[in-house]
Symmetry: C2
Subunit: 312 residues, 2 copies
């Protein structure tokens, strides 16, 4: 059974880990948002790809949700003493990945090739594909002006009020090699929209015409997992963004956002009633993923739900 | 009393430290070899400037002679696990300097400006000037082919037999801002050629026509310190290079190399007899610099000798 997961950073990576550990080796392909990617201190940083890599390689820091555990911070401390910007935290091991990626990209490799190299070096059997090798930039129009994603998310800690979200370059971007093939694979049994932020982390992928078209013409069922639990978001700016965009914090909003695209929605048990009236199949279970067991259990639940859905 | 020191890496930096600590704050200017500079993993690395910075900031690793003490190696270990080259050792704190330098150069600063920023951040009162802001590359023609300096020196550990040494770009390079002014300063009391490798570390500076001309037209006395002690070199490839180039390991060879340029030569006490017949003033003392006291004592000795020499 081969599966494609579509993921942003932390929340998506948790479910991707559950899927990676639940499926036979090599049967999972994770399509990852690159709208957050940026150049910082001369280094090419891909926060969502990095989080998926670290999570699937069992190297992630479970406490902070980004970066590596057992990390050291000598470089960051020295950068600070040299008068460099330190709002984006660069651990020593994490920086090695950015240095290696930057070097390989400059030497002519694509982000797809570099990501493939990294996941192999990390011993990850699932494939990790960037959504595109072209430049797509998530930008937030806020009451403090138009901000690049990391400026908004990390430097300003999502403090500015968001008005609109744009994915600059998405319309002209082609899906990265392997993306269309994975979605169109005859052996594909399910496509899972992970519980990442729909507006910031999943929408960049859906904004790429070729990728969206490939999803729309899929044969495999597409099932989304709501990032909301009882009117709140587990982590990150989802709740604040929804509030500022005037979107009610209910699974109905998640359905409306993905309407016409998804075949089914998995919601938390506390949202079962709110989701019951939706015109697509809904499934409810505990969706909070604190432990590895939580991730495995939710992954198996999502796969079981997907198996009940008809192919197109 | 203002003084200019001309230095390569380790050996030169030791005497530069002695001079820095012996002179009133701000009276020393160190002109540093940049022929060893190279780009590695996308980072601009200036080994001799780094060694002088770390040494004068009291951050240098006294055991290995390069890099910083209390260094951590997380980034290097991770680079190795990612399949990157590891022949050039990059400590975590050291890498921060390279990252900051690379960023500042790309942002339009000159190497002079970046070095000035670093020495200020490190609390160094002496000025540290690169010999040039243009590209000069030390290359060694060996029996294994033409090698860039770091390929020869670090990657191949000076194993190939050297035939000739070239400083590509030197003829067309201009001295960096401040270099000519420092050498022509009316208040300059002495110019010191530090006991760095004459062929690999000092010659790149002398190969820049404007710099050499400025030395030749100096008013202040120019005194060199021999890097040899009793037919041996303290560290590095000096002995091997001299042997391969067919140059006898005596202070006479150092004099011949600098003939017409230097006013006096400081040699080790064991070489006093060999230097006695030279047609310029020679001074002998213990030149091995193991402790900080050694560096201070030699620096004061060199300054005292210089004070006995006439101005031009």
């Amino acid at each position: 059974m081969s599966v494609v997961a579509i993921s942003g950073g932390v929340g998506g990576a948790k479910l991707a880990l559950g899927l990676d550990r639940s499926l036979p080796a090599g049967e999972l392909t994770v399509l990852v948002n690159t709208g957050d990617d940026f150049d910082h201190l001369g280094l090419k940083i891909c926060p969502d790809i990095d989080t998926v890599l670290y999570t699937l390689a069992d190297l992630a820091d479970p406490a902070q949700g980004w970066g590596r555990r057992n990390e050291t911070w000598t470089l960051m401390q020295t950068l600070e003493s040299l008068g460099e910007e330190t709002w984006f935290k660069l651990g020593d091991a994490d920086t090695a990945l950015h240095v290696a990626r930057t070097r390989r990209l400059k030497a002519g490799s694509t982000l797809t090739e570099v990501s493939e190299h990294f996941r192999t070096q990390f011993g990850i059997t699932s494939r990790i594909l960037p959504m595109t090798n072209e430049c797509v930039q998530t930008r937030i129009d806020t009451d403090e002006g138009d901000l690049a994603f990391q400026d908004y998310f990390v430097r300003r800690r999502c403090a500015p009020r968001a008005h609109t979200i744009r994915f600059v370059g998405a319309t002209d971007a082609a899906p990265a090699p392997g993306v269309i093939a994975a979605l169109a694979s005859p052996g594909l049994e399910a496509i899972v929209l992970c519980p990442s932020n729909p507006y910031l982390s999943i929408d960049p992928l859906l904004a790429i015409p070729g990728l969206r078209k490939s999803l729309e013409s899929r044969a495999a069922p597409l099932i989304a997992v709501s990032p909301l639990i009882g009117g709140a978001a587990v982590k990150g700016p989802t709740a604040k963004i929804m509030q500022e965009l005037g979107i009610p914090m209910t699974p109905v909003s998640i359905f409306e956002h993905y309407r016409g695209l998804i075949d089914a929605l998995v919601v938390d048990s506390v949202d079962a009633d709110a989701a019951a009236r939706l015109p697509i199949p809904t499934f409810s279970t505990a969706t909070l993923m604190t432990t590895l067991d939580d991730r495995l259990r939710l992954a198996r639940f999502v796969l079981d739900c997907a198996r009940t859905l008809p192919r197109h």
